[in-house]
Every structure is written in structure tokens, then in C-alpha cells.
Symmetry: none
DNA sequence: TGACATTCGCCTTTTATTCGCCTATAGTAG
DNA sequence: CTACTATAGGCGAATAAAAGGCGAATGTCA
């Protein structure tokens, strides 16, 4: 049930409304759309809006300020999923099981099939995997993992680390992805898998 | 069933009530809201409150002191924000301005202060920045950027690339973060900044 | 009684909406 | 080929409603 096709200009307007809403939490005024698109007459924008409403891409509360509502262009499934932010994983130390029952909203596409949670990475042990200090890793809870996967592993019920997992006979090699760091070799029974890394988030802090 | 959208002012009021409640454990009086927002008439606040009740963001016990009750902290839980997924940025080719009016829900903490959008990265030109082929970059729309920032830059209104920006007198150096790739040197007037990279998302596809 | 919430006018500013008119571009009937 | 017509895109001005504001006068509960 795809709505009517849009002209280029109409797409621009729609796109602008979307990003404005994302950025501010409320819809733009007509004049704001004008400025955003470099137009000078609100009548022009208003005409475009009427077209967008007609074609079913937008709902508008008539005569209401900022009364635009972009119709959900995606599954009403919410699009976002809340997952717990459990704490920090350092290369070697236990998870600081944060009481901070924080959660974070992930895009649907970043969430695993099973239970999913997020950990903050400390240290550069996975630098060759393009995972940096401060990144957030998305983890799918599992108690085993195929060979070569990146896992959250627990040693002696104490140390929790982020490493790649390689089985070598009865033993297990936990391999950092940093040539400066040595692998850890342990008996298979001494290591428990907490989950498998399925995604990464990074936020660059603004320099200023 | 998302509640009606709020105007900026209404959001401010709601936000104030939330933080007041968090700080004190009880709801503010109308006069306290006045002071908090720098207003001088309780009637004004009361009008806002009636709107908030109408729009379903707040419950009020009528004629009761501090009788406000903020409803479900937020509908789009925790604060997921929808931003447009605009297309692909290759090292060198134009953005494939996707008609796919796709959006993606980002955690609040990944969204910029201004307009924000997401691009998919093709190629390994930023491998040393821990950005890989297939990653999504979160971009805050801006038309200028401080020296050394990672930017989406546009050359000749044609090529769009992801590079680090360095000003060198009248010229601009666009520097890939891959030793195998040469920097691009152009006149400052030939390059336009589309935005600054503020985040990265990566999804590992399950091996199976 | 005192500390509130609520209501009543009466403003100003912001915003949506409508009206008339203009320019291109593309298709189509003569 | 030309004239007519339809449509997208645009302009500026005029208008009315909504949003945001004020101070003062009531209620109302505890």
C-alpha cells in the first residue's frame, strides 16, 4: 500500500520535515520549512503540504501550530527497541554491573534475535576490529558461540572480557584484536560465554 | 497511539515538571512552574497544563495542591529518535539520493543538536578511523566544520565523500584515513560541507 | 486563614490558510 | 508548427485562528 509518488520538491519537503522532527521533537512551522528549503513564500510550502496530505504521506491537524505529523513510514512496531545498558567491559576486569538501570533505544536492525544488551568498551584490545575505547557493543545473550566469533567471555566467574573465540581441542583461545596484546589460553571448562557481539555504536564527542 | 504533538513551550513545561518531580519527589505548584520558566502569571501556566492534559501527557487531580501526575514518561520509550537514512556515500561517487524514504530509530545520545541523518559507507577509505565498509555514519547537517573534523564533503556538486577536513590556507585537504589512499587537495570554494560525522553504527551479520 | 488552583478579560506574537497572479514545461488539438 | 491547456513551482499580501502572555478576581481545600 505505497502512497502516491512524490515530485522531487515534495520529497524534499517531506525529508525536511522528517529531519526537523528528529532533531527537535516537534514539527516545523511552515516558515521554518520555507527557510530550510530556501523559499520565500509560505503559500508555496502550504501548497506542497496540501499535496503531501492528499497523497497520504503526512497528517495535518488543521489550523494547529506545528500540527504536522509524518505518517509512520515504517512498521508501527515502534522501530526502536529498548535494551539494557549493563555496564562496562574492560580488557580483563569484571563488568561493573551497573545498578544504573539505564536503557538505550536501539534501531530495530541492531537488535538480536534473543535477549540483547549493551556494554561499554574500555581499552583498545579490539582496535583491529574497528572497535575503540568508549564504543558501545551490542551483545546477544548466548551460552555458546561458533568458532571465530567475537564474544563476551567470563573467566573464573570473575574476569569478563571482549575477545574473539577460537577452540583448540580441549582448550579455548581468547584472542584480542590488538597485536600488542597476547591471547589468553584456558581450559574450555573455565570459560563461560555470556554473549556474542552483533553490533557497535560509537558517538564522537564534538570538539569545541 | 502516540499522544498529540506538543509545541516547544508545552515541551518545556512538561520537561520542567519531570525534572522537578525527579528532584523533589512531588509535583510542583503552578507558581513554581511560573518561576521555573520565568513567567509571571499563573494563568499562563494553567493554560499550558490544560493543553498537556488534553493532549494526554499529564493527569491532574482537579483543585488539589500539587495534583499533577506525569503520565508514562514517554511514548517513544527512553527516547528513540527517527532520522532519515539518505543513501550511500562511496569514496568518490555521489550520494545515491535514495528515494527509499527510509528512516532509522537512533538512541537519543546518538543524535546531533541540529538536523541529523544517516548514510551508509561504501569502501574502506576510513579504515584507520575504525569505520568499515557497510557501517552507518550518523551525520549532523552543517555547512562548515572545524579543522580536523570528519565531514561529508561535496565537490563540484557531484562527488560526495567522507573524509577528514584540513584547511591549508586558501585550499582544503580532504584526507582519507587509509594510508593506501591519497588526500584530495582543492580550492576552498570548490568544496561544500554537507555535515559532520558524529557517530557510527555497525551491525555484524551472523555467520552461519 | 492561607496557600493553592481556577476562571475571566484582554492583550501581542506566531502560524496556518487563502487569494490573486506569475513563470516554466509538457502534452495535445488544430 | 502553433495555440491551448494542465500542472508543478513560485511570489507577496491579507486574514483569522492558535499560542503565549498578562493581572486580577474567585473558588477550594486543609
Amino acid at each position: 500500500m505505497t502512497p502516491d509518488p512524490l515530485t522531487p520538491r515534495q520529497q524534499q519537503v517531506l525529508q525536511f520535515i522528517r529531519s526537523f522532527f528528529a532533531a527537535h521533537g516537534y514539527a516545523p512551522t511552515i516558515v521554518e520549512i520555507c527557510e530550510g528549503l530556501g523559499l520565500s513564500s509560505s503559500a508555496t510550502v502550504h501548497k506542497h503540504l496540501r499535496m503531501l496530505v492528499e497523497k497520504g504521506h503526512v497528517d495535518a491537524l488543521p489550523r494547529r501550530s506545528r500540527g504536522l505529523q509524518v505518517k509512520a513510514p515504517r512498521a508501527p512496531a515502534g522501530g526502536g527497541v529498548d535494551v539494557p545498558l549493563l555496564g562496562t567491559v574492560t580488557a580483563g576486569r569484571p563488568i561493573e554491573m551497573s545498578d544504573w538501570n539505564e536503557t538505550i533505544t536501539l534501531p530495530e536492525c541492531m537488535v538480536g534475535r534473543g535477549e540483547t544488551f549493551v556494554l561499554k568498551v574500555r581499552g583498545d584490545s579490539m582496535i583491529d576490529e574497528a572497535i575503540r575505547d568508549g564504543d558501545l557493543v551490542v551483545v546477544e545473550k548466548r551460552d555458546s558461540a561458533p568458532n571465530g566469533e567475537m564474544v563476551i567471555a567470563c573467566l573464573d566467574h570473575e574476569q569478563v572480557t571482549l575477545k574473539r573465540l577460537y577452540r583448540e581441542g580441549p582448550r579455548v583461545r581468547l584472542q584480542p584484536s590488538n597485536p600488542a596484546m597476547p591471547p589468553i589460553l584456558v581450559e574450555g571448562c573455565d570459560v563461560t560465554i555470556k554473549g556474542v557481539v552483533i553490533g557497535v555504536l560509537r558517538r564522537y564527542r564534538p570538539m569545541s
